[in-house]
Symmetry: C3
Subunit: 274 residues, 3 copies
């Protein structure tokens, strides 16, 4: 039940360590507070092992990647794995440069991620080695139409099997898979693409959901994806005359703040493909 997954975040208030890009770092911290978790941001190699040790989840995001952050990602990731923490990778813009692709590959070899959360173009880049992403945004050509969903779900399940990670590919339809089961989630609004960082925020949120639901990663990851999409719907319902993408940015976080397990359970729209 998605309800339980969210309730556990609010009840346990997990402390989440984020090594994340500076574009959306404030939004990630704020959405973690809004969902009931507690954020700490730290990317200095000297302190990240200690920091991650007091946390219960680690969120690694390669957007606006800086070479000097890679050792911090590696050290924190290894320590978090050793401690059995939830570890999430967000491969922001992985198709935009060799550095980002090589870094994602390197981190995936060295760290056993609990989940990888990217837009559909980023996940395709990881799967096939090259993609069609437009910078950090998903390529229009990668949008899923009805009949594509089943084929993509099958491919993602296979990739989840290979990597041993939950794979979450988000877009107009969101797919969240392990090697056997795929949640097809239909929450959200297209206007969310006009707000920078909704993907980064979701990866933070997902880390909190996994950290609070250690025996139940697949459902927790799907619940986080549904919560973010539903926040996009609920936030939109409060839009006033003159509001635009900046108001919407705030309203999405506010909708997470005002959400609980029951609201999520009732608002989530998904089917499961086994």
């Amino acid at each position: 039940m998605f309800k339980e997954c969210f309730d556990k975040v609010r009840n346990q208030s997990p402390l989440i360590h984020n090594i994340t890009n500076y574009v959306t770092i404030n939004d990630v911290a704020n959405i973690l507070l809004a969902c009931g978790a507690s954020p700490i941001m730290a990317d200095e190699a000297v302190e990240v092992e200690e920091i991650t040790s007091i946390c219960s989840g680690l969120n690694i995001n390669i957007g606006k990647l800086n070479r000097h952050m890679i050792p911090a990602m590696l050290l924190a990731g290894k320590k978090a794995c050793e401690l059995g923490h939830a570890v999430v990778l967000d491969p922001v813009g992985v198709g935009a440069s060799r550095l980002r692709l090589e870094t994602a590959d390197f981190l995936m070899k060295e760290i056993r991620f609990s989940a990888i959360r990217g837009n559909i173009s980023e996940i395709k880049t990881l799967m096939y080695g090259s993609g069609r992403s437009k910078g950090v945004d998903a390529a229009a050509a990668d949008a899923l139409s009805g009949e594509d969903v089943e084929a993509m779900a099958a491919a993602l399940k296979e990739y989840a099997r290979e990597t041993g990670c939950i794979i979450a590919a988000t877009g107009s339809v969101d797919l969240v898979c392990d090697s056997r089961t795929c949640y097809v989630i239909r929450n959200g609004r297209p206007e969310m693409e006009k707000v920078t960082g909704t993907g980064c925020q979701l990866s933070g949120l997902m880390t909190a959901f996994l950290a609070a639901n250690p025996g139940n990663y697949l459902e927790a990851a799907a619940a986080a994806v549904a919560a973010m999409g539903l926040a996009g719907e609920n936030g939109w319902s409060y839009m006033q005359p003159g509001d635009g993408s900046a108001a919407y940015r705030n309203r999405i976080i506010d909708a997470i703040y005002n959400m609980d397990g029951t609201i999520l359970e009732q608002g989530a729209r998904f089917e499961i493909i086994c």
Copy 2:
């Protein structure tokens, strides 16, 4: 026509590479999305040439400058020039330290900028080697009164001729010049100074306008300046009781989100000095 300039941004959705300060990096990304462009933020020297190659415009901002970002600025700038992209320099706080002044000078020697956009104090510092800016804000003494406008327009045209760049000096009145023509733009509100990053946002916006209007840089730069000022006016019209500078920050971005070429054409207030 300013209308066309803006419509082209919305129709082409140019991908804009930003090497920009971390104070306002989120706002710059959000205003680029709001105007219909697509942002990518990247300042790691290893990847910037590759990143800028998939873009059509480059925005370099020296606010909160870090020495290690200068090689990235140089590499990206040279590559963007080689590819004929629009390249904009925002000399934030150039009068506040030797490092910033020397970096601006160095970049201007090495890179052929399409446009330089700063507040009036920053542009004077570039022109005369020293200025009176108060940190990153324009000095009150530099505010233009009626009779100063023509003299300043003449000086800016001369500086545009010397540098081969469009020069945009913003303040209570905004001047946008090439060597022969000066747009004098009277949009905007004084309360915009109470929001950090409206200048940085404008430089991002201007890069998108130039990228989408390659044969028409002067008018595109002027259109971007008018759009930002008009967004300040339109956003202000939605201010509610209790709102202040933080609400206004959002409302300015929202006004860009809700603007189109027709709204810009009707709201722009400017004269042209030849």
Copy 3:
């Protein structure tokens, strides 16, 4: 009088140099503008002495600490002391890693701070060498109940005497002390904890209040703390249906923008323990 302390900020518009974490750097800049001060953010060692020389206050914040920022903190801090500027330390997350604790200790040995502003867990960590903070948030166990206040005030006064600094420990009750006098301030709302960076913003605000009130640091620090708490109350009074923590973030800054000395004087709730 708190009224005078705030009025001087608005009248003098002090330029404040911030070396601060990238999570909340934008909020710190915006709240400084909102209170009538002028912010400049600079953390590059090469330029910080020059930057701080044109300012009248320096705000050093060790959140999301990066090793490479420590030399900049040291250089700027020494120069600011030499010039007699107000210098504030915010020991964000000082209990979360050795690096942060050692850096705080090092900076406190090398720089004579005018004031240290942290949450109650952070201040306890500084005082006793180890604390119970949950990452960057105060530990629930550290919340002050009625009878604890006097004992804590006595301990803080002793620590103020040892260090020669104003000590401001914020939480459900805020204590602001020098070696002889303690302001016990009861403004604020618990929901402020759900917004990242209210502490960082307060440290920025406090630097501006000290800079504008050089002969009156204790009262100025207390006035800044009361202003932030009152902004939390006044901002909350404008919350609308659907609003949450992101709206609240903006409303707090807006409440500072809309505050003046008279509003502060009337809204501040405090007693003084001598």
